[in-house]
Amino acid sequence: MAVRTIEVREKLMARNNELAADVRGRLAQSGVPMFNLVSSPGSGKTTLLERTLDLLGEELGIAVVTGDVQTQNDADRLARRTRRLVQAVVTGGACHLDASQVLKALEAIDLADTRLLFVENVGNLVCPASWDLGEVAKIVVLSVTEGEDKPLKYPKMFQQARYAVLNKMDLLPHVPFDLDRAVACAREVNPDLEFFFTSAYTGLGMESWFDFLRRQARVPVSA
């Protein structure tokens, strides 16, 4: 028999990365920045977005794409806070969103009426780090009910993120969470990480987050 070896050398993320570039291109054309919110389950991504939509949803024309393994509960929660479309992607078992899902979700979003776009990724500190969705930046949410050393345990996610939201700060007096150590652990893996310290539940510390988003949103077209 004739056994032949065929060299392929094809990057396995190439297809996703091409689609992510497509997403990035479309958003750049519309001038809409997209942020990819990532975290472990239960760190408060949805509550952070609820608060954000309450205060800035109209002002900044915020649209959201949510990803969950099952249910569209998060999308339903967020849809109650905005008149804009909240697109739910149910991954049906997959542990992350990929660029093809975001590209499809974009088709339903009126980008001309949108100044800022959030993707709420599947709650998981591992897999979403590997998938470029075409975002401007990943924002990792960590809460004070988690371990301070999460950035060391999940370094890729914290390396990939440009911003970190330390959430549930209202619970700090009640939990054995060493804030300085958490920041040091995060900076150890990513010295350039920029922090926000918030309680999305009580509203504590949300102003600097809101100011940041106001600076990021597409400049409105004057009438």
Binding site: M1, A2, V3, R4, T5, I6, E7, V8, R9, E10, K11, L12, M13, R15, A94, C95, H96, D98, N124, V126, C127, A129, S130, W131, K156
Partner: protein, 85 residues
């Protein structure tokens, strides 16, 4: 945890390659970096599951571990049924 997604992408690329180079697939080489965010044993398990079905005929996955975050399909080994040169 996304090893199955990657294994399915390997399957998609191998299928395209087999259309260009018909034959019986014997093995599939995948280069996987230590920082690629994947568990090699889990990826091997998922690849075995994907390659167990037609048109792959139970081909063997061969993982080549390297430093860094490389993740690529390296090669296919096929028997094209033609006599040896």
């Amino acid at each position: 945890m996304h090893e199955m997604s990657i294994a399915l992408e390997v399957g998609r690329l191998v299928e395209l390659e087999l259309e260009r180079n018909p034959g019986r697939l014997l093995s599939v080489g995948v280069m996987i970096g230590d920082d690629a965010g994947l568990e090699p044993e889990s990826l091997a398990f998922c690849l075995e599951a994907v390659l167990a079905h037609p048109p792959f005929d139970g081909a063997r996955p061969v993982l080549n571990r390297v430093p860094g975050d490389t993740l690529r399909l390296e090669y296919l080994e096929i028997d094209d049924g033609r006599p040896d040169d």
